[in-house]
């Protein structure tokens, strides 16, 4: 059976559901198509949900409504090497007051909630439906077909929010047919059960306060990093690798994850926990230069499908950018309906809204970060250097002390070389 809508959104993740929500609230008849048996079933991330300014306009009491785990009050970075590690932590009082700065969430719960809000606003959610093809008429997208179903879903405009590989954008001719492994990362994650009072004791938290920590130097030479986040009564522990580097290393993500969890400092954090779920996903980490065409005749692309991910080394942003782009795509469709113009030109307001938003501004600002992070020394030599300097600084064993700058230069010369240090410093300065 063929059904007609005023707009079709492919994918009920943060981008798709935000788009559907904004359009449905404006009175449009929207289909939200999801391949999982419920929204969120296929989705994982290894991250923190950051502020969602556009969504907070719709839900001013966002943190009261959304199914969140803990709000992050403490963020840390750990430089690791062998059995030594150097930690930096920021704990800010302002992070403990609403509007909170970030949360841990479970995607199967959060994504299901957001899609449900779109449904409450009037969107039609169609689950268990994998999009097979994009219908086109004279070079204009007019709908989609569903695998294993007869008929089609028709609409004058489709929003592709179907994730990192976006076959919808591919079929509409908006993304290139192949990806570069150098622009992708893969994340693997173990979800570990741990009682909430034990989490509070272990990480110095009370109530629903949360801790998020990143690790460098824990990936056996593969370019990448680790993370550990506290959920309400579980921990998310995982690793993210640059795909090209993982591929050529010959190492496997699960062996590296096991090694990471057995590393003495991490082992103490996860001790007594029970593995509940293992998950993995690709992350589009190519930054600004990876972004495909954002719009065409009758089609817009949002979220991971548009490679909207900001990986600067310190923060990893994705869901916030996805949700924001989804809402802006929805606004462009609402404008296109008013003007009854779904051509490339009619939908071009999306690009304009995006360029004016923090999404594109940030991605442009950090345009050089992906290249800067393709430097093996960041993942081996620098963590070693930091740990070695700090170890020497704190070692009091009767030997005469060296001054800090000498210590630092000696460690730099041994581990990375002065020339490399200068070049890397300049590259980081430019990128960040």
């Amino acid at each position: 059976m063929t059904r007609s809508f005023q707009a079709i959104v492919v994918g009920a993740g943060p981008a798709g559901s935000s788009a559907a929500l904004s359009m449905a609230r404006a009175g449009l008849d929207v289909a939200l198509v999801e391949r999982g048996s419920f929204p969120g079933e296929k989705n994982m991330f290894g991250g923190v949900l950051h502020r969602l300014p556009e969504l907070e306009k719709i839900f001013p009491d966002f943190w009261e409504r959304a199914p969140l785990e803990r709000h992050i009050i403490k963020k840390g970075v750990t430089f690791m090497t062998g059995d030594s590690s150097f930690n930096t932590t920021i704990e800010a009082g302002s992070f403990d007051k609403p509007p909170y700065n970030g949360y841990t969430i479970f995607r199967p719960r959060f994504d299901a909630w957001l899609a449900d809000e779109a449904v409450k606003a009037g969107a039609t959610l169609i689950t268990r439906s994998s999009v097979e093809d994009v219908l086109q008429d004279n070079g204009r997208v007019t709908g989609v077909t569903i695998q294993g179903r007869k008929g089609a879903l028709k609409a004058p405009v489709v929003i592709a929010a179907d994730g990192v590989l976006s076959f919808t954008a591919l079929k509409a001719g908006l993304r290139r047919p192949t990806f570069d492994a150098g622009q992708m990362a893969v994340g693997v994650k173990a979800l570990i059960d741990l009682p909430s009072d034990l989490i509070n004791e272990r990480f110095g938290l009370v109530r629903e306060q949360g801790f998020a920590n990143e690790f460098v130097g824990c990936t056996s030479g593969v370019r990448g990093g680790g993370f550990l986040y506290t959920n309400y009564d579980s921990l998310s522990v995982g690793l993210v690798f640059h795909l090209g580097s993982l591929k050529s290393s010959g190492k496997t993500p699960y062996d590296l994850l096991n090694e990471f969890m057995e590393q003495p400092q991490v082992a103490k954090m996860v001790r007594g926990g029970k593995l509940r779920e293992y998950s993995a996903h690709l992350i589009p980490e190519g930054g600004y230069d990876m972004i495909p065409e954002l719009f065409g005749n009758g089609i817009l692309v949002a979220g991971d499908a548009a490679a909207l991910c900001n990986a600067t080394g310190l923060n990893l942003e994705g869901i916030n950018l996805a949700s924001h782009s989804g809402i802006l795509a929805g606004q462009a469709v609402i404008a296109a309906h008013k003007a009854q113009d779904f051509s490339r030109k009619g939908l071009s307001s999306y690009k304009k809204l995006m360029d004016e938003s923090y999404v594109m501004k940030d991605l442009k600002l950090y345009r050089r970060a992906p290249k800067m992070l393709h430097n093996n020394r960041i993942y081996n030599e620098y963590p070693e250097m930091v740990c070695s300097v700090m170890e020497s600084l704190y070692r009091i064993d009767g030997g005469a002390k060296e001054n800090l700058s000498k210590l630092f230069i000696k460690a730099a010369r041994e581990k990375v070389g002065i020339k490399n240090l200068a070049a890397d410093g300049l590259s980081a300065w430019r990128a960040l």
């Binding site: 391949r35 999982g36 048996s37 969120g40 079933e41 296929k42 989705n43 994982m44 479970f106 995607r107 199967p108 719960r109 689950t127 268990r128 439906s129 994998s130 569903i146 695998q147 294993g148 990192v164 590989l165 076959f167 990806f179 492994a181 992708m184 893969v186 693997v188 994650k189 173990a190 979800l191 579980s234 998310s236 795909l243 993982l246 591929k247 050529s248 290393s249 010959g250 190492k251 496997t252 993500p253 699960y254 994850l257 096991n258 969890m261 593995l275 509940r276 779920e277 293992y278 998950s279 993995a280 996903h281 690709l282």
Partner: protein, 92 residues
């Protein structure tokens, strides 16, 4: 965590019809076979003695890694499972 016990900790609704089909003849001529180590679910195994690639779609996490790392275009089909099938995360 033992990856071979993936079905003990991650849920799947397995479709008999594979969503990914591999022309394993192409893999014989591949010199990197990055799929075998990069796949987070160990769906790809290379047998050096028999010079044979084996792919099992059952425990596929639908992450997309193989789609990107395969530089021989060895897939005759690469799509997501039919609606309602495949990996089913509960709390990740």
């Amino acid at each position: 965590m033992n990856i071979d016990e993936i079905f003990d900790f991650t849920s799947f609704t397995i479709d008999r019809e594979p969503h990914i089909v591999l022309d394993t003849e192409v893999c014989v001529g591949c010199d990197s076979r990055g799929c075998t180590n990069s796949c987070p679910a160990r769906c790809y195994t290379w047998n050096e003695e028999e010079k044979k690639m084996t792919f099992v779609h059952d425990g596929c996490l639908e992450c997309g890694t193989c789609y990107v790392v395969c530089d021989r275009k060895a897939f005759t089909r690469w799509r997501y499972p039919r609606g309602g099938f495949g990996v089913a995360y509960r709390m990740t």
